[in-house]
Symmetry: C2
Subunit: 259 residues, 2 copies
Amino acid sequence: MRTRRTRAPQAPKSRQQPSAHNGHPASPWRASRERLLDREVKREAVIRAAAHAFNHKGYHNTSLDDIAAALDVTKPTVYYYVSNKEQLLFECFVAGVEQIRSALRQVKSLRVPARERLSAVLRNYAQAVASEFGWCMVRVEDQDLSAQMSAHIKAMKSQIDHGIRRLIREGVQDGSIHSCDPKMTAFALAGSLNWIAHWYRENQSMTATEIADAFMAVFDNGLRPRGTAAAGNGARRTSGRSNRPRPSRSRLPQTTLAR
Amino acid sequence: MRTRRTRAPQAPKSRQQPSAHNGHPASPWRASRERLLDREVKREAVIRAAAHAFNHKGYHNTSLDDIAAALDVTKPTVYYYVSNKEQLLFECFVAGVEQIRSALRQVKSLRVPARERLSAVLRNYAQAVASEFGWCMVRVEDQDLSAQMSAHIKAMKSQIDHGIRRLIREGVQDGSIHSCDPKMTAFALAGSLNWIAHWYRENQSMTATEIADAFMAVFDNGLRPRGTAAAGNGARRTSGRSNRPRPSRSRLPQTTLAR
DNA sequence: TAGGATGACTACCGGCCAGTATGATCCTAT
DNA sequence: ATAGGATCATACTGGCCGGTAGTCATCCTA
């Protein structure tokens, strides 16, 4: 799409002064270490660019030339940082899924009813799915991946799944969650959240957390009216923070099936 | 993949007797009309084969040669029945979505609380998503479609979406559904069901209807324990039929994120 | 029984794109 | 100051695949 840039503009590379202006201790290998850092930064830029492109055009409609062009470099440069297209997809997946895994680890230490721990995890889940890596997390199809990559991904997914099921089981035991089938309930909850990746776009009227809250209100209360409690305001929230009222009459740019 | 078949085996085509064995009225153009029927049957076979292939290998990993080979014909034959690959995807989408639209139409005449009408629609929804066209319904990305096809599809999706929202609104009004934001609730419900297409495979221990029932139990009751009613059995069901208990301890072949 | 309609095949084209061979340029270390 | 490594560009290959041209066989109709 863009004409290949000439070699010249590479020069004004903002050659920052070699004196350390970041918090790193001085070291005789300062320069080479800086280069390593540089490399890591660039590598991440490549992955972000890939995520962005996949997100907007889909995996198969994105060529590595596209990704390179978005970074103002050429394809071999991309290949200098990642080994192939498949790995790009994998890295995007990992970047997104890591958020959820860390959320699952963190709530383990909380001493609150399991439903609140679940709520916290699902809020992080929603944020991950709504992030720029959401598409990759949700849309990877194992047909596009080698056998081992596919197995890796499946293992990580399974880990998250069983983490959620465990929280549900614990909630049923401690009485904070209505008796239910943990497996199917986990499917229902995760499905709703996964689907966010299909319709959420960044310049949205609602943030990911607000969406998660709205969903949790549905999940918590259920559709059937409750005999107890004032039935006036449907958006009961269980976890403490982020309580500001949200406008329920926002623009409706999407549908339930997809964007 | 397969070696091209020879011309010979085309002969044993099961030439059925020309006497009308179906309910069509006699007509001087009987034969040509039969041919038209034949053509329609074959066209549907092409679409089913496409759906099956997309379902298993994904849209972009399926070549028209694959589809042709599955039908034991060659690519130009496929092109004789459909105009291009995009149209194949579109037809698969329509085939699946039509189920849901007809369900929405049918419940309009029912004189039961809106929550039960919603429940009936969602059960059909689940069946459609779990059908062989589910993948196409759920995974179509508008980047793969021309502008007008994309608009078509978006319109049909929107129609379904607003049908569901309407049912929710009516349920809130008639008191059968807990007060809630119809838009976000519709997103949550449809997302769960859409996601079924990612993990459901035909030889499953649960049928689509059973899955829908299990989901509806979650949606209806919510996670929070209910003060009223015996909290012993979580799987309360609201709609009348299909009440047999289901084994909650089935094999766990999938995870929440994907199959 | 000729002629049109229908159905299907063989053979090909052309574009896209993942991935690579090669080499230029710059940086760092010794 | 120079060898060697790091970084990135130019230019290419090779395969896959959507789509088409042209042909032939079969069947229905008149």
